[in-house]
């Protein structure tokens, strides 16, 4: 059943999206039907949508799921594949003809596509189905009273999870995707949210407001980064009645699981017994492998073993009774939930005439989990202080803020391995 059909059937009488002008579920459904009427040529076609305004975004995904054959969620306009139409820019609207109306009820299964985060210039589009995307959604009558703060871009896996969770349970979404922690907190207060899904880094900043108790939180969800025990303890102490979950999600595998016992990592016995339809194993290199009930995207075939397990490329440590996450095996740096490819930052640094050699790596940080650090070999006769500023400015011109190297170490020599490549042993772990 499509998203729109599910909502029509549920017939929620609540507010779907809280904003300057509130949008009820019936308005949202009407808006989605309007889009189908107005753009009948999109039926069974491929379409891409972006996120600008939450009400429009939700109406669009409702309109296109079950209606278009493929739906691309664009987190960045630059990612638009060549042959795909971006809605509504490249689409002509036609007043709906009677025969089109007749076709409205015939729905198809839509393939959803989201780009993997943290890749360099070529994004990998990973396909999902509505069923795989909503596997974690639990419908409970009490959930309709929740008011969810949306803190992630809804075109990303984590954000879409919040959107679908809220829509399918008749809850209310409050857009908190913009601005710094203080602005987001103001939005949360204004929207009277009682459920927040955010990265551990954002949670730490929210705690810095010292006013968290002004939000009557019933749901606390952490995801996108490793949730440490101290943060879990702090949140549990502040909100003892709230349901506290930390989520592990592999966007690529289209799977995730939630840990609800308020402890970091996940129970060791899941490795033996599985959990919620998901099977787990850890290999000799400490990689966590997952076997989802549905087949992962064909794009990932090279990472799936004969038993159907997918290498998550996340490093774990197995202790007496727990499996703890250590970080990414492939060297991706996780700055407050945003993934940074070290090679990309190295390439930018190397464009600067003074830089002879560069090695970029993760440095543990108690505020954002990890920061980007760089060892640099530079041409002689440079004033270190001036050069540092120049290099940061140089990086700012072509990198996002979270990708900036925040620590630049000038070194005499950068180690390369036997094959002449930069040695990339893990510098540190959580």
């Amino acid at each position: 059943m499509s998203l729109l059909q599910r909502l029509e059937q549920a017939n929620y009488q609540t507010t779907a999206i809280a904003a300057e002008c509130e949008c009820s579920y019936s308005e949202l459904i009407n808006n989605a039907q309007q889009i189908r009427h107005q753009y009948p040529d999109l039926k069974h076609q491929t379409v891409a949508v972006r996120f600008k305004d939450l009400s429009n975004f939700c109406a669009q995904i409702l309109a296109f799921d079950g209606w278009c054959s493929k739906l691309y969620l664009l987190s960045d306009k630059a990612l638009l594949p060549d042959d795909i139409t971006l809605f509504p820019d490249g689409v002509s609207s036609i007043a709906s003809q009677p025969e089109h109306r007749e076709l409205l009820s015939k729905e198809i299964t839509t393939h959803w596509f989201m780009a993997t985060s943290g890749t360099t210039d070529i994004p990998k589009w990973i396909g999902h189905s509505l069923d795989s995307l909503t596997r974690a959604v639990k419908i409970n009558v009490n959930n309709a009273a929740l008011r969810w703060a949306l803190c992630y871009q809804p075109t990303r896996f984590a954000g879409l999870q919040v959107v679908l969770q809220s829509l399918l349970t008749g809850a209310t979404l409050v857009d908190c995707t913009n601005g710094d922690a203080a602005q987001r907190f103001t939005e949360m207060q204004r929207g009277a949210v009682n459920a927040i899904s955010a990265t551990p880094s954002l949670w730490r900043q929210l705690l810095m407001t010292n006013e968290m108790l002004s939000l009557p939180l019933k749901r606390i969800t952490l995801g996108g980064e490793i949730a440490g025990q101290r943060l879990l303890d702090n949140l549990a102490a502040l909100f003892p009645q709230a349901k506290l979950l930390h989520i592990y999600a592999s966007t690529e595998a289209g799977v995730g699981f939630a840990v609800s016992d308020k402890k970091a990592g996940f129970p060791l016995n899941w490795l033996k017994q599985g959990h919620n339809g998901l099977s787990f194993k850890v290999d000799s290199r400490q990689h966590l492998w997952l076997k989802p009930p549905q087949k992962p995207d064909i794009n990932l075939a090279d990472r799936i073993d004969v038993e159907g397990f997918l290498d998550s490329e996340d490093l774990v440590e197995v202790t007496e009774d727990r499996v703890h996450f250590l970080g990414r095996a492939n060297g991706l740096i996780n700055v407050g939930g945003s993934k940074v490819q070290p090679e990309q930052v190295e390439q930018v640094l190397l464009q600067h005439p003074a830089v002879l050699q560069a090695r970029v790596y993760a440095k543990s940080n108690s505020v954002l989990g990890q920061l980007v650090a760089a060892d640099l070999q530079v041409a002689p006769n440079h004033d270190v202080k001036t050069l540092k500023l120049q290099l940061i400015q140089h990086c700012m011109a072509s990198l996002a803020r979270y990708q900036l190297p925040t620590q630049l170490n000038f070194v005499d020599n950068i180690a390369t391995n036997a094959s002449g490549k930069l040695s990339r042993k893990r510098e540190d772990k959580e």
Binding site: L207, G336, V367, L371, L389
Partner: protein
């Protein structure tokens, strides 16, 4: 050197590096989240202070106290350095 002055200097330095525009005067009761330093800048400040002072009180802090103002932030460092 006076620890408060040291933190203030580091803050100015980091803000320059991180391209953050600080509100003109950082006082005891300046709210950190409204100081103009964003989360990246704040993370850099903590990293810089760890390098200078050899401690990161936030990585070991067991209690649920997160500094709201600049004064509280300085106090956490003063206490951690005494300990």
């Amino acid at each position: 050197m006076n620890i408060e002055q040291h933190i203030k200097d580091s803050l100015t330095q980091v803000a320059q590096l991180a391209n953050c525009h600080l509100i003109t005067d950082i006082e005891q009761d300046t709210v950190l989240l409204q100081s103009g330093l964003d989360s990246l800048g704040f993370a850099m400040l903590v990293a810089q202070l760890e390098e200078d002072l050899g401690i990161d009180p936030f990585s070991e802090m067991q209690i649920a106290i997160y500094p709201r103002t600049f004064g509280e932030f300085v106090k956490i460092y003063q206490l951690a350095l005494k300990a």
